[in-house]
Amino acid sequence: MKIIVFIDQIVSTQVKLQGVDFFDPSKVDDVDLVINPTSKNAIEGALKLKNTFDAEKEEEEEGAKVTAVCVRGLKPIKALREAIAMGCTDAIEIADDTLYTEDPLLLAKIYVGALEKIGDFDLVFLSAEEQSSSSYAVGAMLAEKLGLPSVLYAEEIENIDGGFRVGHVLEGGRKIVEVPQKALISTSDSQYFTPRYTSMKGILNAKRAVIPTWTATDLGLSANVVGKEAASLQQVSLTNIVIEKESYIITEGEPEEMVDNLLSKLKEDEVKLGA
């Protein structure tokens, strides 16, 4: 069984870059580049299946493989080493200045290119959202391009004969579907996908891992197909949202002082708590 998991690297949301500054790479330090938390959920989904598969396999059979692929990010290699430290078997970096990844359709094309070069695979995992600036569209676009049965926003996965039974997020509840083994699953941040920590063994593997870098040419893609000029979703403007209302956030003090501070401010503003 060969599982591919597409991950993103983002600027940590712990970084206090406000509004448009968040999108300015010159303001970002390398240490603040992290695997997108929702991508970690996708890695977890892939690793859980690998673990189940490995536990059930015959002795002479090869174990399941999980390959992490990262296109988006300023230093994808860093994210990929962490993915291996979590338990992924290997990793592929896709980096090329000509690739434009802000348009979900172009990103889906890049992913298709990567999958074609990888060749055979059984399952594709990705996360439904990139925090902060998601297009929320890549999973569905990729599934449609590949003609793969798919589930978006999965919350739980159960192995069944010849495929998976998957529960996914739905307005007013949860929907259960069954997909064949060759499928695409995008994950939510449900309890089931709570990411594991890196392990000692994983960290060693990550240090030793040779991670290839594929360029657009390696994927058979040229700038007029996946470059900025090919984007059909084009940014017209990006501006800070000015919030008029003032917010009163208490950041300092002993807990009791903070509560007193809040209550007296509420009183001053004539905001009544309760009847």
Binding site: A140, R165, T239, I249, P255
Partner: protein
């Protein structure tokens, strides 16, 4: 201009967000011709009438047992047929889980990208502009789509519904679509509906907890505080998924929509899917992470551990 809207059905009625879209479209595109696509096992005439009232001039219907539940392939196939018939310049759907699955796929078939979760749509000289908040609603990204046909979804809760619609019965056209075995590769098993035993809609005060609450038993302090303040409790999907609290208390896009005077958010990060269901006059939040997005939306906040803050708050209020 021709606009086609996906008329999603939910709980045997038109999804509310679809009505919101119709209202918005009538404001922005005064002279447009708005058609709806209704896909179901069996079309209910009430849906057609309601869409007409809200401004639909024409409704395309596809009736088939394969459409009883949303599944990507049969829905994409049906929509593509309707698009071919109507040749719209814009195709819109509400940004529900199904709408967000459908629109990107339709876009792929037309070789174009799409804009998801827009909160506004406007007209430039010859462009349709899509407005999407990014970075936890700190910045607004305006985009345009290059191509003869454009695809977008709207953020749930973004648009008002016209309370007094006065449109007429629309024209109805039946569209025949045939499905093959390979359209049904993904099998619908069931929908596990969350029980809604408690109605939070009219609550004046809600004490809501998130993953930061840290466990089932820890919800007691929230309940005590809510009781003390004559309010209700609420929770994020993270908590209901963990079974810390009954599903009925879930608030947000996939939970209940609430509009209390006061919303106390404890240990909630402030995901858009949660906040899209919260329209509070005053939002007070407690979170130990100063960078948590919830503070961007809060009127008042304490950066601290809810396990320390809430008991003190309760004691002082008693």
């Amino acid at each position: 201009m021709k606009i086609l809207v996906f008329g999603q059905i939910r709980d045997n009625a038109i999804e509310e967000n679809v009505l919101g879209i119709l209202n918005k479209l009538s404001e922005v595109f005064a002279d447009s011709e708005i058609s709806l696509a209704l896909l179901a096992n069996q079309i209910n005439n009430d849906w057609v009438e309601e869409l007409g009232k809200h401004g639909a001039k024409k409704v395309y219907t596809v009736e088939a047992s394969e459409l009883e539940n949303y599944l990507s392939y049969p829905y994409v196939k049906s929509m593509l047929e309707i698009i071919e018939k109507t040749e719209p310049s814009l195709v819109l759907a509400a940004g529900t889980v199904f709408g967000e699955d459908l629109i990107p796929r339709l876009a792929v078939h037309h070789g174009i990208s799409c804009a998801q979760r827009i909160v506004d749509i406007s007209l430039d000289i010859d462009n349709i502009l899509f407005h999407t908040p990014v970075r936890d609603d700190q910045a607004m990204r305006v985009t345009k789509l290059v191509g003869a046909i454009k695809f977008a979804t709207t953020r749930t809760g973004a648009f008002f519904i016209n309370e007094n619609p006065s449109g007429k019965s629309p024209e109805v056209e039946k569209v025949e679509v045939t499905f093959e075995a390979e359209d049904m590769l993904v099998k619908h098993i069931e929908i596990k509906k969350a029980e809604r035993t408690v109605n939070l809609k009219d609550a004046k005060l809600i004490v809501a907890g998130g993953r930061g609450v840290g466990g089932k038993d820890n919800f007691q302090i929230l309940k005590d505080l809510a009781t003390l303040l004559n309010g209700e409790i609420g929770a994020t999907r993270a908590c209901t998924d963990l079974h810390w609290i009954e599903e009925t208390y879930e608030i947000g896009q996939t939970g209940q929509s609430v509009s209390p005077d006061i919303y106390i958010a404890a240990g909630i990060s402030g995901a858009p899917q949660h906040l899209s269901g919260v329209k509070a006059k005053t939002l007070i939040s407690i979170n130990k992470d100063e960078g948590a997005p919830i503070f961007n939306y809060s009127d008042y906040g304490i950066v601290g551990d809810l396990h320390e803050i809430l008991p003190i708050l309760k004691k002082k209020l008693e």
